[in-house]
Amino acid sequence: MVKVTVDPLTRIEGHTRITAEVDSNGTIQYAQSGGLLFRGFERMLQGKDPRDSALFVQRICGVCPISHGLTSVNALDHLYGVAESVPQNALAVRNFIQAANMVASHATHIYVLWGPDLSNPRYRDVLTAPEMGLGEVGKNVWSEMVGRFTPLSYKMDGKAIPPGVSYMNALTAKRRCQEALAPFAGKMPHVAILYPGGVTCNPGLGEITKAAATYLKILDFVKDHVLGVDLDVWIENTMKAKSPDAAVNFVVEHLSGLISKADGKFTKENGFKDVEFFATFGSELVGERLLGLPVSLRLDKLGNYNDPSKIQFLSYGAYYKRGQDGYTPESADWERFVTSAITKGDLSREPFDSSKITESIACAFYTDDVQSRHPYNGTTVPVADHNLINFEGDVTSKYSWMKAPRYNGIPAEVGPLARMLAAQDPLIMGLAKTFQTYGMSPASVYMRVLGRMQEVARLAYMLPEWLFDIDPEKPFATSIDFNAAKDAQAIGLWEAPRGALGHWITTDSKGKVSNYQAIVPTTWNLSPRDENGIPGPAEQGLVGNAISGIDNVLGADNTNPISIMHVGRSYDPCVACAIHTVDITGKNAPREYRLL
């Protein structure tokens, strides 16, 4: 066994590390993800005015500040007893700014954080090596990959490679997404308008027009680079398809039609925009078996779950129901555009119930008289003996600052794939079931990235709907009663781009914050083992992977562990949410911490 460590795992938000033990065949047999860092935001809020939290917690993460802000303001609406009466205008503004930011975050992830790994020299070697016998097709695929996805300042064999066309245009599109929401939000990152009972802005037609104009520019990017068919046509045949089978058939026939006309050149001009290119070449099942191409990146074989009984997919739900004032803090099944739900490892479905969430400290550097607690009752006491704080520890010890959140005792993946499954998006559910039928894992790097792309399409389709829900003639806020926040507790549940996000708030007799708790998406996805020894989603997802990807087709190279990069980044980790106050010495340790 060889120990391969990626530390820091870059191109994520914040810093983390992944360690894998690789056998002589180049297969990962064992994996650990360690949260190294944390900051202490929840401590900072104690004793403060609860209203500050919706602006304050945005500073947890500069990539998804709106999600943190909205999760917090949901908790504040609940705390001040106004959740049921927030004007629909305010809900429309919140929906719109969240959707625009989620598209910005997904564009950043797909193109800036995850995508650059497609220009890894290993792929050049596989696609162009004579012994692979791929000829012009291999060369063309490689030239598309490097021509689209190369990051800034990239070098191969000492030679500078210019940044990719899709990459560069995505930077502009991401900026524009933020400009679409800025007229309502004041500025981005870190918006100014979140307040219990509504929003602080009172936009007019001018703001709506500015946002609409910017939106049209974003659609140009989608048309030129992302999607080879009209967005409405795509949505009609995927999100609104009559059945999962119909959606999968539509996409496979679309791709098949493109291939037949491409003459081995998979260019944007030939209709292979980034979604088509990725959908075709990302998967062995789709690209090689269904479409009959000679090669694929086989990303459907990375990041799989081997035991469906030890994994599930969780969505808290997001985007308030349209056309009515107010909302319920814990959204009911099918109430919202992104519904709350649990999708089991076998793809069966059940309603979500927040009381089933617990966090385990078995492998995290904390002590408690019980191993698991619900977040309302959560404690966070670092281990007293600093010798226990060892990131190199194995499964029998503590090895991470992240706790292990569980739903009904089982780990859960959160993020776009989980949301698409909860919403039963016909395309993503259809593909998941197709993989299942072929005896493959419905979850993979391929499905996570494709799920993210599909969510971009769905949100791009919905953005104008939410935008025109805003009515300048109607109120944007309802008043709050400060007394309602005394000796109270409240819950905020929402979705960040990278997954389910929950904040739990408790106040004292003066109406100040006495406890603030948060469980962020990355704590779910990169969690360590729990008291039953069940590994977290990413830890499960790494086992069985070929270290060099594509089934180690040119042999295993532990010095370029491309599968760890792909799998780790496929969850879009946000460890900036994890806090930078590690107790290394154990001396003068603060009594309580909460890992964000």
Partner: protein
Amino acid sequence: MASEKLNVIDNLQNLDVLQMDRRTFMKAVAALGASGFVARYGTSLAKAMEFSKTKVVWLHGAECTGCSISALNAYNPEFADALEKLNISLEYHETILAQQGLFVDGKLVNTSELNGEILLDELANEGGYILVVEGSIPNGPDNTGKACILGGHPFKDIVEKTARKADAIVAIGTCASYGGITTTNCDTKEYCDFQGMSFTETTPGGILKILGIDKPCINIPGCPAHPDWFFLTVAALILGKLDLNNIGAALDQYGRPKPFYPPESTIHDNCPRRGYYDRGILDKEIAQGGCLWKLGCKAPYAHSDCALRKWNNGLSLCMQAGGPCLACVEPTFPNASMPFFEESEKTEILFGANIGHVALFAIGVAVVAAGVHAVRRMKKE
């Protein structure tokens, strides 16, 4: 004072490769006269084009990545354009570049083309770059700096290694400048001991002093920093318009470039809702469209050109969208700004930075309020 002001404008004037905004342009033209401006414009543009490569090493400490995201929001020119026009080579940036730390059985492997740890060592050995730091730097616990570890090294050590060989140092955002959100008063504050680069809150020194590194640091605070403030400052450095041997002339007492953080004026002076303040229309509920002073707006204490420059392609501003200014550009952020929604006069903390302005503003409020009341009384009677 007058000549100092001219220097600042001079600096701005030479940033024309970045297509300065209209106001800055007008300011520069006004100061130099049209012909003087045109003469300099031509020279400077030509000079910029033949500029030799400038390397930038960008580090991330205790941060939220918001300042990187904000820099990526740069427009006119955009982020990648700005790099190209200024011939900046972004050599290291954990969120953007291809590299990551790679170890096999605990030993560094591969080359600097894929391994960021090797790359950073090579860069630090070579030296000669602009060091950009995002996020604060923990000095704790017990002066070990181990509260933030990357690739097995305390972040503080990484800052030391790279700062010693840097030609210039820029702190982007309030965290790197002064500690910012990480220095919020709470019971873990002393334990982590978060430091800014050359200040910690209002106290000069910061991590550079602790590390014994005597180099100037340019602070570009803001939560996040505005992309213009950052790129125009870097442009000024590259164009040689910020003299590192006499950098104090261009910076205020907290190390901020005066053109963007004018000591003599506050955001309040140019606030789009200023008219409501002058007429005494002070909102007590959100989303009413009036002045936000009673809702906790701290703009009268905050020194930046936010209200003129605006955000996200000049589209908006916190107060324009009804959000009170948090004075996030000040070294006292966020402690002096909290509670965010309480009228500043009701809070007991004064902004150490601007006591003079606080007093002035408080008087202003009193006078205006008295005037408005007088008018109302007259109308009633």
